[in-house]
Every structure is written in C-alpha cells, then in structure tokens.
C-alpha cells in the first residue's frame, strides 16, 4: 500500500483476498471522483494532515481465515458444557431456549438504530413496551425504562437520582452488596461529596439494628441487594417503614429469576428496583453485553434515567408506540438531563422479553423453584463433607457461602483438573470470612453433576 494520491492511482488502497465490504468498482470510484470534481481522493481531503506511515496493525484476512482464527481463540477459552461451573456472583448460567437467540439474530432487530422514527420502528418499540410491561409486573413497580447498561451502573443511576432529589449526601449500602457494585457506586459518586456508609451483616443478613440507628434524615437512600451477594434472602419488608420515617429512598437491587418465587420489591415498599437482567436468557459472555433493570414508583417517573416507550395512536387512530417523556434526556436537556445515557442495551432487553414470553407465568415460577431446590440439595450435601461448613444459616435462593479448611485457591485448582469450576473465592473482599467461597447452583446442574462435585470435593480436601 502507498499513500500516493496522484491521478494514476486515485485511491491509496486497492485490496484483494481480504474482507472488503465496500461495493465500489474501480470504474465507479473514478466516476464518482469526476462527478465531485476532483481527480484523486487526496485532492478531496487536501486540508487533512494525513499520516505518512501505515498503521501498525495486521493485514486483513479472508472470511475462512477469520473463522479459523475465531475457532483457535475460542478454543483457548473453556466454558460450559466442557466445564461444570458453580460460579454466579451476578452473572448466571441458565438454559436459554433456541428461539431467544434466533429472534435476537434477526437483522431487523439486530441492525436497526434507536427508534427515533416510530413509523418504521414499531417492531423495536412494541417489543420494548412489552418488556416494560413484563418487568413492571415481575417487580410490582409502576414504571420501567427500556434498560440500562448493566446491573451495577443501574444501581449507581438509582443512587444518583436519590442524591439529586433529596439533596442529601449519605447513602446506606450493605457490606453484603456485590463488591463490583460497591466499586461502581463509589466511582459514580466520588465527585459529589457523597458518603457511602456500610451496613454490617449478622449471620449474612442486614443488621437491622444498624439500619434503624443510622437511617436518619441526612440519608438520601438505603440500598439493599436481595438476594444479597452471599445468596441470602434479606428481611426486605423491614426496611420500608424505616426509610419512610426518614424520607429516604428505598432502593432494591434484585435478581429477576428469584422473583418467580420471592416477594417483588414493589410489594415490600421499594421506591426503585434495579437489577441485572442477564439471568433472563442472556449468555454470560465473559461479562457482557448485559441488561440493567430500572423500575420505580410513578412518583419518580419524570426523574428517572433512560428511555421510555409509550403507547399512543397514529393519525388514523391505530394503536402505536413511541419514545416518550424525552424532555428528561441528554439530547434535549444537555447538562440538566436526569442522566447522560444514550445508547444502552435494547437488543438485550428484547432478548429477555423473548425469554420471559417463552417461560410464561408458571414457567418462571417453576424455574425459580428448581433453582431453590437444586441449590438446597447441593448446600445440604456439600456441608456434610468434613472440612466444609456453611458460613451462614440464613435462608438462601440459588447461591451460598461455604468455608473450607483448605484455602479456596488450592481447591479451585484441584477441581479444575476434574473439569469443575469451584465457587468464587471471596477472601479479598471479606477477610473476616476465612477460606470462604460463593457457590451458585441453577437448573442447569443435574443431581449427577452435584453428586460428582460432592465426591470430587471430598477427594481433594
């Protein structure tokens, strides 16, 4: 390749044998330059300080070469079903029906832009309206936006709302909140003089005495995670009266699958419910793209971040859907907007809608029940192994913390040799819990898988 742009070579690059998605023939390029009234590309961009050297990135590949490279890279990762993984901690392995990814792959959903032109975007708009409806019902909240980036930043946006609306500077967050969520909260609020106060845990559950004592009129919001990072179901119904008394907002971060079985946040008095929607049929995908859930009471409708789809009619009176209440958003309000979010994660919200539609009313409950039953079975079996004990006695959903006599890292290595990914070591965040690890069991694990884990762990301890 050269950078020459003289008349004999109107463009710098003529490419062969590698992927090229520009359809122009050489003759067309010349014809177009002539129509524009220049003889070369360089003449067209004569004010541009074009770099002299080539970029130091590899040359292109043909499609076959790329697929081969993709297989090579993919095979350097190990994943289910080759590995039997007991990792959870905010990203979950659930079975997702083939129809979910088939529908998500449709070009009309995949390759459309944000639905700014509603007349030709009813597919995306109606799907997102159905998403909003399903999440409202699942969480028992009044309104839901079309989704945030992921769970942790959704929680951060909820806290920003509370800080903005109350004008207060203190926020109560559980010590048992997901450590990444804590870090993200701290990143988002670090520049506003916010004080994040940790609520300690007692037997893995929120210390309600501490909440009662510290939930004062200086507090903007009290945050809970339910089930919490340890997998424990919180006494969530005890928080609302305390928050109301202090006129603080009550924010609950929830796992949507658990809501098949557990009381939804709207019923225990939360002002805002957020959560990670990945468990609704979305692949773990090494961390993303995921789906931040954000639902709230009507009271906060005009203060909430993100996009909203509303139902209306067209000029012929037909039901139709449109992005609405945009006066909150950055492209209208600029520095006075309720948030800076623009593009978020519509396709993932659509995917979760397909998943919830396939599961249906009873299906979600049955799924949540299987998670509970399998996690309980694994918990009961594992805690009978000498050298393994439960860190807490409080009720769990599909995750639990174990403490072992052997350091977790050692167990992790030995189990991996048997094709099992152990629970997550949590010592670096919780030094008070010696040799502790967080284990997740979903419906994807059979009794045989769990029995194999028990046998293997017994052998390596």
């Amino acid at each position: 390749m050269t950078n020459a742009g003289d008349g004999s070579a109107p463009f710098s690059c003529i490419i062969s044998n590698t992927m090229d998605f520009t359809p122009h023939t050489e003759a067309e390029r010349k014809e177009m330059l002539a129509d524009i009234g220049v003889s070369s590309f360089k003449e067209l961009v004569k004010n541009l300080p074009i770099m002299e050297e080539d970029l130091k990135i590899p040359s292109g590949l043909s499609e076959g070469e790329m697929v081969r490279l993709g297989h090579e890279l993919g095979s350097k990762n190990q994943a289910a079903p080759r590995l039997s993984s007991y990792l959870g901690a905010g990203a979950y392995e659930h079975f997702s029906p083939a129809a979910v990814s088939a529908l998500m792959s449709r070009g009309e959903f995949l390759t459309s832009y944000t639905p700014y032109q509603p007349e030709v975007s009813q597919g995306t708009l109606q799907t997102l309206y159905e998403f909003q409806s399903m999440i409202c019902d699942l969480t028992a909240m009044d309104v839901t936006n079309t989704g945030m980036y992921e769970g942790a930043s959704a929680l951060a946006e909820a806290v920003l709302l509370a800080l903005r609306e109350t004008g207060r500077k203190k926020v109560l967050i559980p010590r048992s909140l997901h450590p990444d969520y804590k870090t993200v909260l701290s990143t988002y609020t670090s520049e506003s003089g916010t004080q994040l106060i940790e609520i300690p845990f007692k037997d893995g559950q929120l210390d309600l005495g501490f909440v009662a004592k510290n939930l004062t009129s200086e507090v903007a919001a009290v945050v809970i995670q339910n089930p919490n990072f340890f997998g424990i179901v919180e006494p969530a119904e005890a928080i609302a009266p305390l928050a109301q008394a202090a006129s603080a907002l009550y924010i609950a971060s929830v796992n949507p699958i658990s809501l098949g079985l557990l009381t939804p946040p709207g019923e225990y008095g939360a002002d805002i419910a957020v959560g990670e929607g990945q468990s609704l049929g979305i692949a773990p995908g090494f961390g993303g793209p995921y789906l931040g859930l954000f639902a709230c009471k009507t009271k906060w409708l005009r203060k909430m971040p993100g996009r909203l789809v509303g139902q209306t009619v067209d000029v012929d009176g037909r039901r139709a859907f449109v992005l609405t209440l945009q006066a909150r958003e950055q492209h209208i309000r600029r520095e006075k907007a309720t948030s800076n979010v623009c593009t978020t994660t519509a396709l993932i919200a659509a995917g979760s809608t397909f998943y919830m539609s396939l599961l249906g009313k009873q299906g979600l409950r049955d799924l949540a029940y299987q998670n509970l039953a399998k996690a309980r079975y694994a918990f009961d079996q594992l805690t009978q192994i000498p050298g393994v004990r439960a860190a807490f006695k409080a009720p769990i959903f599909n995750e639990f913390v174990l403490q072992t006599t052997t350091p977790v890292e050692t167990l992790q290595q030995r189990l991996l040799e048997c094709g099992v990914v152990a629970g997550l070591p949590i010592k670096k965040w919780y030094p008070e819990l010696e040799n502790a690890s967080l284990w997740c069991v979903t419906e994807t694990k059979t009794k045989a898988d769990i029995d194999f884990l028990v046998k293997t762990l017994r052998g390596v301890l």
């Binding site: 390029r29 459309s112 007349e119 969520y181 079985l261 396709l347």
Partner: protein, 494 residues
C-alpha cells in the same frame, strides 16, 4: 399493527419445558420466611414457542434496519454489520464463558482484549485503551473521571468543562455527573471552533475541553493543533468525542493532533450492530500521562500468559461490574482483523467519497449548510423548501414512503432545519443514485404539492403519531385489567 403479546396469551400454554426435577422436592415455605414468598405470579404471557416466534418475527418486520434499508442517519455510522462477526460471537467458547472464571480458562478472551486494546491504541495514536465502558456516553463519563483524577493528583480537580454549542448532548450531561460545571462556547459560521471565544473561556479553572472532530457539521477542524496548544497552555486536557471517527481511521490519528483522552463508539466506527438502541461499547484511549488513572481491571501479558490486574493505586475504579461488553468487543476485534490496515483505511476513503458524492448530487435540490468538501457526512437544510411551508420533518417522513430511513434531523442544533446525511462506505453507487432520485422527487413534490409532504408517510405500518398524547397521558405498560383488542384480520395483512 400486531396485537400485544398479552392479548394473545392463553392460560396454561407453555413455550418451554424444564427438565424433570431430579433432586428431592422441598416446600419453599419450609426454607424461606413467609414474608419473602411471592403470593401472586407475575402476569407473563402464556404462549407456545411458535406463538412467540411468530409474534416477534412479525414485529421485527415492522422495522427498518441496515439489513433491509438504506439508513443514512448522520453521526450514527449505520454501516453494514458483517455476518461473520455474528457467527464467531456465537461460538460456545465465547458465549458461555463466565466473567469470573480463572484466568487460565479464558486465555482466548484475554488475548482478544489485549490485542484489541493495542490495535485501537495504534489506530488512534493513544498510549493505552480501556475497553470497559458500555457505550459512548459511558466512555465520556469514564474519560472525564480520568481527567478529574489526573487534575486532583496534580493538586486541584479544577471546576469547568468547556463544550462547543455544536456538541452531542451527552458531552454536557457527562460533565455534570463527573462533578464539573459546563461552559458552552459558540462555533463560528462554519461550525468550527471560534478561537477567540475559546481563548476567552479557557483559564486555570478549565479541566477539559471536549471537541468533536470532524465536527458535527462533518468538517475537519483544521485549527486543531492550535486548539491543543491553547488548551495545554492553561494546564487543561483536550478530549475527543470519537463519534465521527469513521472519517479518520487510517488517515489521521487523534493522538498525533494533541488529544489527551478520547472515546470510540465501536457500534459506529467498528461495525458492531446497533440492536435498536444498543448494546454498544465505548472504549476510552488516553495519553501516557493518564494511563495510571484508567479503570480496573487491566489486561496484562506475561510470560505465563494473559492475566487481569484487579487493582491500581490511582485508578478511577470501575465503570461497571466485570470486564466490559466482551461479545461486542469481540465483534469489533473480528472486524478490524478482517479488514486489516489496508481495509480500515480504504473504508474511510470510501466513506468520505460517498458523502461528497451525495453532497454534490443533492445540492441542486437542497441547501447545503456549508458548501465545501465534507468528511464522512454532509448537512443540508430545508431552506429551499421553507417558502412552501415544508419542513425538514416533512422531508424525512416522506423519505419513509420511498423506502429510506431519514437522515438525522434537527441536529446539530446550530443549523436551522438540519438534515445530517451519513451514507457510510458500505453503500453502493446504485443505492446512492436511487436515494438521490428519491430526494429529487421529494424536492419536486415540495414545490408542486407541499400538502402531500406535510401528511407523509402514507405507506408505513403506522403513520404520524400523536406524540403529545404519549407524553401527556403516559401509558408505559400493559396492565392485566386492560381490555383486549381482538382483531379479526390476520395482522400480517396490514
């Protein structure tokens, strides 16, 4: 239109079967407190698999998309999204990987992260990149928090962020969250930075000047090196909003121009599909002096392989849980590897060629905002149609009847009745010629029958919507008590 899925629901129907429970069954009330147990099931629809597939397939067909239509939406870079990216991103070895697996089991993904960071740094002339931010606006926030951490480290976080009046709305909104006051500076008549206005605004309180280059008017900011010097002279940092990077890749590197921080929109420049409003990815690149402040984790390459470094003393922390939008980053990695150094440059050249071709072919029918060679997009206005009472909105809506997605309209804010057209490099001359013909016919209609345009579109699944009603009487969800609408007509016959 299609009925709501809830209106099609049949009690007892199922679209998915769980395996039989093979562990002992338990009574939830025996292991969970009564107050924690849900009393009423959520009203999710009850459908067969075919019901669900048909419902959403039909809905999908109500959308315009790149796969089906020309989509010249300015500033959004709606280029073709190669299918091979989708194929590879769906390999189990990528899709099924848990973000917290031990490093030894995710070497392929860490290699993709490492190499993508290096390639983006080379393309942009920046020292290092973080791949963590989930979208462009998320990247802006990360970039501004990095700037703030840097200034704080030097002793004073400073107070203001300067943005031009032509900037994307996310710029000032992000600056607010990062704890800054926003100062807006006017652009000159050509949408370029007014150097005198900028000089007057810059002082020791300025933390960052955010610049979009090429500007939102599609023109390269020729004074950029001078601007960089002015910004650096007061100790401030120069930020590039990389939304328009599709005009520069392979030709100009922002780092060489003096930018200290920038974000990319991988769903624009690097062709990851936009998904009807995301998912996206907004990697942030920084100059050497700012690398200690990048978010964690950082991917490192050692003799033992790739690893994730979780802590770094000066880091701003984390922008999100886990690592980043890995499956989106993977698609961008594949895209760059497929094209290679020659391909990325060729793309840029053809993107600029296509935009200029539309510029000269349409200027007889529509007023150009600025009549000079453009970069990857050009801005027209409805000034010629205004005497007939035809507005940009009407032209946009009429384009729908001709089967084209409209350009971005009413942006940038500094151009009255703006139409921002970005064809991208993947559209053929034939497509552009057809679009030009449609635009010519619409200009003719505006002359002869302006009323026709004011009520367009006519042929779309629905016509103009009552947006006032949507905002005044918000209906944001279906409720079980809503009365079903049962249409006797097969909705496919719309």
């Amino acid at each position: 239109m299609e009925n709501l899925i809830f209106e099609k629901s049949q009690p007892g129907r199922k679209g998915y079967q769980l395996p039989a429970l093979d562990v002992p069954s338990i009574d939830p009330a025996g292991v969970l407190p009564k107050a924690s147990l849900r009393q009423h099931l959520a009203e999710l629809p009850e459908m067969s698999e075919l019901d669900v597939v048909r419902h959403y397939t039909r809905l999908s067909q109500l959308n315009f998309s790149i796969d089906t239509h020309f989509y010249p939406l300015g500033s959004c870079t709606m280029k073709y999204n190669p299918k091979v990216n989708e194929t590879i991103a769906n390999f189990t070895g990528f899709k099924a990987v848990h973000p917290l697996q031990p490093a030894s089991t995710v070497q392929g993904f860490l290699q993709v992260y490492y190499e993508l960071e290096r390639m983006l740094a080379e393309i942009c002339g920046m020292a290092e990149f973080t791949l963590q931010p989930s979208a462009g606006a998320h990247g802006e926030l990360a970039g501004l928090l990095i700037a703030r951490a840097y200034h704080k480290y030097k002793g004073n976080p400073r107070k203001t962020v300067i943005v031009p009046d032509s900037a994307h709305g996310t710029n000032p909104a992000s600056a607010m969250i990062a704890g800054y006051h926003v100062v807006t500076v006017k652009s000159d008549a050509k949408g370029a930075i007014d150097l005198a206005a900028l000089k007057a605004a810059l002082n020791q309180d300025t933390a960052v000047f955010m610049l979009t280059n090429p500007s939102t008017l599609g023109l390269f900011e020729t004074h950029v090196k001078e601007i960089a010097k002015m910004v650096h002279d007061v100790g401030a940092l120069l930020y590039l909003d990389g939304a328009n990077m599709n005009a520069l890749v392979g030709l100009v590197r922002p780092g060489d121009l003096g930018f200290d921080i920038m974000h990319l929109n991988l769903h624009k420049t690097f062709s990851t599909p936009h998904g009807g409003g995301g998912p996206a990815a907004g990697p942030v690149g920084v100059s050497q002096a700012l690398t200690p402040f990048l978010p964690v984790p950082r991917v490192r390459k050692t003799e033992q392989g790739y690893s994730l470094e979780e802590t770094s003393p000066l880091s701003i922390g984390k922008m999100r849980a886990f690592n980043g939008n890995s499956l989106i980053l993977l698609r961008a990695y594949i895209y760059i590897r497929c094209l290679g150094r020659e391909g990325v440059r060729k793309n840029t050249e053809i993107a600029i060629l296509n935009a200029n071709y539309l510029r000269v072919k349409l200027r007889d029918y529509y007023q150009l905002a600025i009549d000079e060679p453009c970069m990857h997009e050009c801005i027209f206005t409805a000034a010629k149609q205004k005497p007939k009472g035809v507005r940009t909105l009407d032209i946009a809506k009429r384009l729908l009847d001709y089967g084209y997605h409209p350009p971005t309209i009413y942006f940038p804010l500094i151009v009255e009745e703006a139409m921002m057209i970005e064809p991208t490099e993947t559209e053929s001359k034939q497509t552009l010629d057809q679009f030009i013909e449609a635009m010519r016919l619409i200009a003719q209609e505006a002359e002869r029958d302006p009323e026709k345009l004011k009520h367009a579109p006519y042929t779309t699944p629905v016509r103009r919507l009552d947006e006032v009603k949507a905002a005044r009487e918000p209906n944001l969800r279906w409720k079980p008590s809503d009365k079903p609408i049962v249409s006797p007509v097969d909705p496919a016959r719309r």
